[in-house]
């Protein structure tokens, strides 16, 4: 009797410790609603074809990787609007340096990561040391990068060697490499936030920077670190996209609206833009919602412009589904 209740208690405790972010319920809702619509109006592939299920995740990889970086920055009560053009410069530069030759791959990867680190550093320093509002600071860097790449490259430049396409198209067993990378990045983001000093400090800075500073956290360094990591995730996403496209073009980032979409997925996941709260698993849920929607729209053959309209409505409703209960006024 006592043993039974003890095990029962243990199960209950384990169940309690697995805290599923509410966004996943929304994800399941969207998935079944979309799948049912597909069943009724189209060929019903979403429920019956596992390849499409997998495709939902593959579609989300680039956005998912950036969203992890964006989550870190937003938890620190900052924002990064430069990720889209960081992706573009990565795509263009890596493909330009590689020129279709495997020997150039390490060189290309090192240089784009160096560029990414520099962008993140500039963002972080402008925000912390020059006290520029993060919105304006990263918008400014984004304009600067945009200017530089549009002045240098106008179209597809260089190409990616066959070996590098493994990143975008390869599979290990039956699982695409890209999904594994996404999971590793999300897990790394989770580890960083939940299990390291840096993560704890980041929550502190996002919650109340002044209090964090007075309790001995080097707030500036923490925020600069978050920005560098965010730019690095953008670089990784850019590498992934260029390996899929086989050649880099300057419009990759802005065309995917990765800046605003990564912020939107983060917020849909439940991270407040005011910072100090949230985690990367919930962001992954937001990203997957985007993936599901994209797939459903494709399956149903929705007009692309109507798709934009629906996307706008769904983003707002998803966020509204938790903000509506809040007692505080939004701004």
């Amino acid at each position: 009797m006592t043993a039974a209740t003890a095990t029962e208690n243990r199960y209950r405790r384990i169940l309690h410790s697995i805290h599923i972010p509410p966004v996943y319920f929304f994800l399941i809702l969207v998935f079944f609603a979309g799948g049912s619509l597909d069943q009724i109006l189209a060929d019903g592939q979403i429920f019956s074809n596992p390849a499409i299920m997998l495709n939902i995740v593959v579609r989300s990889v680039a956005l998912g990787i950036i969203a992890v970086g964006q989550s870190l920055v937003i938890i620190g009560a900052s924002i990064d609007l430069s990720v889209a053009y960081t992706i573009s410069i990565t795509a263009v530069m890596s493909s330009y340096i590689m020129q279709g030759d495997t020997a150039n791959v390490p060189m290309a990867i090192v240089s784009v990561f160096a560029i990414g680190a520099a962008i993140g550093l500039v963002n972080g320093v402008t925000i912390t040391k020059f006290k520029v509002n993060p919105f304006i600071a990263t918008l400014g860097t984004s304009l600067i990068i945009k200017g530089i790449i549009n002045a240098t490259f106008s179209n597809y430049t260089g190409s990616v060697p066959k070996s590098f396409e493994f990143f975008g198209y390869g599979t290990i067993g039956s699982l695409p490499v890209s999904i594994i990378i996404l999971l590793i990045i999300v897990a790394a983001g989770w580890f960083l936030l939940a299990r390291t000093k840096f993560g704890a400090h980041l929550y502190g800075v996002g919650g109340n920077a002044e209090v964090a500073r007075l309790s001995g956290v080097r707030t500036d360094r923490v925020l600069i670190g978050a920005h560098v990591i965010c730019s690095m995730t953008a670089v990784l996403a850019g590498l992934f996209l260029v390996s899929q496209m086989r050649s880099g073009a300057p419009w990759v980032g802005p065309n995917g609206v990765y800046d605003l979409n990564s912020i939107a997925t983060t917020v849909i996941g439940g991270i407040a833009l005011s910072g100090g709260k949230g985690g990367v698993w919930s962001t992954l849920g937001g990203v997957l919602i985007f993936g599901v929607l994209e797939t459903v729209f494709n399956q149903l053959g929705v007009n692309p412009y109507l798709k934009t309209v629906l996307q706008g409505i769904i983003i707002v409703l998803a966020v509204a589904s938790y903000t509506i209960r809040s007692k505080k006024e939004a701004a």
Partner: protein, 335 residues
């Protein structure tokens, strides 16, 4: 005799000090604008030192200034409006279809657009106030909705052209005005809007309430401000001003699918260069207007220097960061 000789330098230095404190109070946007504009005048005297050239400059700068006023109001209330760029695209695309190439449709089309604009603002305001969605996300969703809706309505490409009487607001001049020569319609619209919004913002309770909300929502709520109502009206004003700005931009720019792209960022930047705090609670109509003029002057300067368009973006980015860093660092020193 002795008293006058001692006191006059003292008074003189006192007066100087007074002037200096007065100069220090001038927002940095004015000296920045005039330095850039004078540089323009030195580099191209025929274009920027004639009344005609100045009026042409004001014609191109006025639409952004109108949009920046609306954006400034929303920023001062502590929110964002990212939908203004999409609204401009909507005005131009939907008007091109509503006009059906018939000048008689111009005024009904503009009235329809103003109606749609107030609905968009109402939507933004209601979503922020009642669904409590942060305005960044609410207006981002609205941006997607408006842009997608406009493109869906016209089928992805402009339908027809904008008639001349529709375009007159942004393109034409009133000729033969003494002293000024000719004055662009756009400038007159800007002045009328600026005066009205200055009165609303600085001389009415509503204006004070916008600032109060931006400064501290809870405190203003407790002192009886109807936060939701004020916020909804602010968003409606912003959207209507974006519609008016769109009519002016369409006037000189013509039909183009990407005409409004990035305008929301420019409007925010204009407000920020004009000293608006993005966290709310601070703002000024004339400063926002001159913020917009400064951005336009920078673009003209870079064009004049022969920099290709992409570099213009880059330098604009640098200058925006620089302006905000300057404001941030100086205000920090005061603390």
């Amino acid at each position: 005799m002795t008293t006058t000789t001692v006191s006059s330098p003292k008074e003189f230095s006192k007066a100087l000090w007074k002037i200096w404190t007065w100069i220090k109070k001038i927002p940095p946007v004015y000296p920045v604008f005039f330095i850039i504009f004078i540089t323009l005048g030195i580099l191209n005297p025929t274009k920027y030192q004639s009344m005609n050239g100045i009026m042409t400059f004001l014609r191109t700068a006025s639409p952004l200034a109108v949009i920046a006023i609306g954006e400034m109001l929303v920023l001062a209330s502590g929110g964002f409006d990212l939908s203004v760029g999409a609204i401009v695209t909507l005005v131009v695309l939907v008007s091109s279809k509503l006009l059906a190439n018939d000048p008689a449709n111009a005024y009904p089309a503009i009235l329809t657009m103003l109606g749609i604009g107030s609905l968009i603002g109402l939507g933004n305001g209601l979503v922020v106030s009642y669904l409590k969605v942060p305005s960044f996300i609410a207006t981002l969703g609205m941006m997607l909705l408006v842009r997608g809706g406009a493109l869906y309505y016209v089928g992805g490409a402009p339908q027809g052209y904008l008639t001349d009487n529709w375009r007159a607001f942004g393109r034409n001049y009133i000729e033969n005005i003494p002293l000024f020569g000719r004055v662009p319609n756009a400038l007159i619209i800007l002045i009328v809007i600026a005066v009205f919004s200055y009165i609303i913002f600085n001389r009415t309770n509503f204006g004070k309430q916008i600032l109060a909300i931006g400064d501290n929502v809870r405190a203003s709520q407790l002192s009886g401000v109807r936060v939701r109502l004020v916020r909804v009206i602010t968003f409606i004003i912003c959207s209507i001003l974006a519609i008016i700005g769109g009519v002016m931009i369409g006037g000189y720019g013509g039909v183009n699918v990407t005409i409004g792209e990035g305008l929301e960022m420019q409007a925010i930047a204009a407000g920020v260069v004009g000293g608006v705090l993005l966290s709310g609670g601070k703002g000024s109509v004339p400063n926002a207007i001159f913020g917009a003029f400064t951005l336009q002057a920078i673009v003209n300067l870079l064009n004049l220097l022969g920099l290709p368009k992409p570099y213009t973006d880059a330098v604009q980015g640098l200058i925006i960061i620089g302006a905000v860093a300057y404001v941030g660092l100086t205000s920090q020193r005061k603390k």
